[in-house]
């Protein structure tokens, strides 16, 4: 059973809600970062919501995904809890990684979310591995890798796809082509017009879909999943999308104009999906506003709770390196934490 049934009106509303949640979460994250509340790097998914939500809704709940440095949207689409996400952004103990990972490393392996990833292009081989588990254990599961247009220039992306194609593994490769790798336009990274041409090198189906149309993404992934589950191997999907905000918060964006962004906003995925649902009578304008307010309230609460939550104890820095006990870590810790467990 798919995660969200797009044919059902309730499913459509849920997809809309998830897109709104992503936008609200990342808008808030951007503000908090600008206010100096969040440490480290924050990469926002605003503008690209249709890709994550469209793709993951069409998967089954047990399916695996691998994500990127720009992972909040994938997490929310996969059903992760916004409080635990926000707590992680703050580096609090309640966060998905107990504060050890931060924005770039949110994971929930049990939920099939194999991790945001700070290394461009690292996800596809991991997804191939998850697909290998499914195939090895004969489970009805597929693995979907999200990665950016920039990542297509990474050799390990090719290796991951080639393995999955050669072994007919149940994998799906989704490029989020937002037209930039940091400050570098996709044209300066690749020689092809459509990144879906990559599929030709592996003799697997390759498509370019409108990544700002959640239905188009959904349908492409639904088909790809059926193919994967039937043992017919991977599919390569390029989702044409756009990021509205800088590469990371703080980016001065010398590489594009405000007009470029405004052009993209004309195709805004949330606006279009909302209009479609309103036109179809699935939702009224008022209901949409309520939904937006609900989502906003959820993010308010997540943020407040995250702000109030506890930091991990410094001694927790020495935990989680291994499953087994490793004496050196303890010994080295003792040298710094000389005074009854307190750092000197």
């Amino acid at each position: 059973m798919v995660t969200i049934d797009i044919k059902a009106e309730s499913g459509q509303r849920e997809m809309l809600r998830r897109m709104l949640t992503i936008r609200a979460f990342d808008t808030r994250a951007g503000e908090l970062f600008a206010d100096g509340e969040l440490p480290g790097f924050v990469h926002l998914y605003i503008g690209e919501e249709a890709v994550g939500v469209g793709a993951i809704s069409a998967l089954e709940p047990d399916d695996y995904i691998t994500s990127t440095h720009r992972g909040h949207g994938h997490c929310i689409a996969k059903g992760l809890d916004t409080y635990q996400m926000m707590a992680e952004l703050y580096g609090k103990r309640d966060g998905y990684c107990n504060g050890k990972g931060g924005s770039m490393h949110i994971a929930d392996v049990d939920a099939g979310m194999l991790g945001a990833n700070g290394i461009v292009g690292a996800g596809p081989p991991l997804a191939t591995g998850a697909a290998l588990t499914a195939s090895y254990k004969d489970e009805d599961r597929v693995a979907l890798a999200f990665f950016g247009d920039g990542a297509v220039a990474q050799g390990q992306v090719h290796e991951g796809i080639n393995l999955a194609a050669t072994w007919d593994l149940p994998a799906i490769f989704v490029v989020e082509n937002n037209h930039f790798g940091e400050a570098t336009p996709v044209e300066n990274q690749h020689n092809v017009e459509h990144l879906s041409a990559t599929a030709e090198a592996y003799n697997i189906p390759g498509f370019t879909v409108d990544g700002m149309d959640v239905t188009a993404v959904y349908e492409a992934v639904e088909e790809a999943r059926a193919r994967a589950a039937a043992g017919d191997g991977p599919t390569f999907i390029e989702a044409d999308t756009y990021r509205y905000k800088g590469h990371f918060e703080g980016d001065h964006e010398p590489y594009r104009t405000k007009d470029d962004i405004d052009d993209a906003r004309e195709r805004d995925a949330i606006d279009r999906f909302k209009t479609r649902l309103v036109d179809a009578g699935v939702i009224t304008d008022a209901e949409f506003d309520d939904l937006e307010a609900e989502v906003e309230a959820e993010i308010d609460e997540a943020t407040e709770r995250a702000q109030d939550a506890e930091y991990p104890d410094p001694s927790e820095a020495y935990e989680d390196m291994f499953g087994a006990h490793v004496p050196e870590i303890e010994e080295f810790a003792a040298r710094v934490r000389t005074d009854g467990g307190e750092r000197q």
Partner: protein
């Protein structure tokens, strides 16, 4: 067949076998024991591995469990990480350790870091087997000893067996471990024979060294091929100089206690390992022993290793840079 007491574990029957066989038997037993475990690597199936380590395993376990891969180390190392995180137990062969650079990213940033970054919420039961060292005239790109990189990398363990017994006992522990373990074979000693416990539950804990020969005048702690070189030398010197020989076995975690005990007795330490000397494995042994055994030491700790060169091709040059009994002898002469 004989009986012996292995380090820390009482064992009964043993069998004489080569290191190559010991590795293959460990693989065979663990594949039989745990159906989540599988092998992955280049030409390890029907071909049996380029150095014939996996041999006939594919006949017993089939192509799904002894899986030939395309020449995509980054791809299948990453796949191993993804597979391990989702409930299998991959055992990866990297044909030569020099090829670890090709897949270093998946090791460095994924395999080694996932558990920690995810707040402990990921298991990573991967074993990586590979072969190191000179002696085959295989030249610089197929003869390197790179284990220090992985001993230094937080989040992975690294072992370097110097005997058939250690090879079997450590490999079984590595496979059973829920942490990533690098198992560094040395291609020059695959044919070295030794007594190996036949008990299928014989394992050597990761993080344990083994005193292979007792002595009073000087301690030689060695890895891989250097263990045999040291034992031969100790035998030769017997009567003259009493040499204690320790197989370090596990680079990380390291059994510092066993080293300290030995040095307390002998007061002199030689470290023999085939990594290049600068920033090599030796240095960590030196650092730990002087840290905690400073006042036991009667002389500076000596290092025997590769003199910061690559391994050259020509037989006239190759043996020159490989650490051996001569080098260990020279080191002993400097301090005894």
């Amino acid at each position: 067949m004989s009986t012996e007491t292995g380090t820390g574990q009482a064992v009964s029957a043993t069998e004489t076998m080569t290191i190559r066989e010991a590795i293959r038997e460990a693989l065979r037993e663990e594949l039989a024991r745990d159906e989540d475990a599988f092998l992955m690597g280049e030409d390890i199936g029907t071909f049996g591995g380029v150095l014939s380590v996996t041999g006939d395993l594919v006949d017993d376990f089939g192509e799904e469990r002894v899986r030939d891969t395309p020449i995509s180390e980054a791809g299948f190392m990453g796949a191993a990480v993804g597979a391990a995180a989702t409930g299998t137990r991959p055992i990866v062969e990297i044909m030569f350790s020099d090829f670890l650079g090709v897949c270093a990213e998946q090791i460095l940033n994924q395999m080694a870091k996932n558990r920690y970054m995810f707040g402990g919420k990921a298991e990573m039961p991967v074993t990586v087997r590979t072969t190191e060292g000179g002696g085959m005239g295989a030249a610089s790109q197929h003869s390197g000893t790179i284990h220090t990189w992985f001993a230094h990398l937080p989040g992975v363990m690294a072992v370097t067996p110097g005997s058939a017994r250690a090879a079997k006992g450590l490999l079984k522990s590595a496979i059973r471990s829920d942490d990533p373990v690098f198992f560094f074979e040395n291609k020059d000693i695959y044919e070295q024979e030794g007594e190996v416990p036949t008990d299928e539950d014989y394992t050597i804990p990761l993080g344990q060294a083994s005193v292979e020969r007792e002595g009073d005048d000087v301690t030689v702690v060695a890895t891989q091929r250097c263990v045999g070189e040291s034992l031969d030398l100790a035998e030769e010197l017997a009567g003259e100089t009493s040499v204690e020989v320790i197989d370090l076995q596990s680079l990380y975690p390291m059994d510092t206690e066993t080293l300290l005990e030995s040095v307390e007795k002998t007061g002199r330490l030689i470290v023999a390992d085939e990594s290049p000397l600068s920033y090599g494995t030796h240095a960590e042994v030196v650092a730990r022993v002087q840290e905690r055994g400073f006042f036991s030491l009667d002389a500076p700790i000596q290092r025997v290793g590769v003199p910061d060169t690559h391994i050259p091709f020509s037989p006239a040059l190759e043996r020159e840079v490989m650490p051996d009994a001569d080098g260990i002898q020279a080191a002993i002469d400097r301090v005894v």
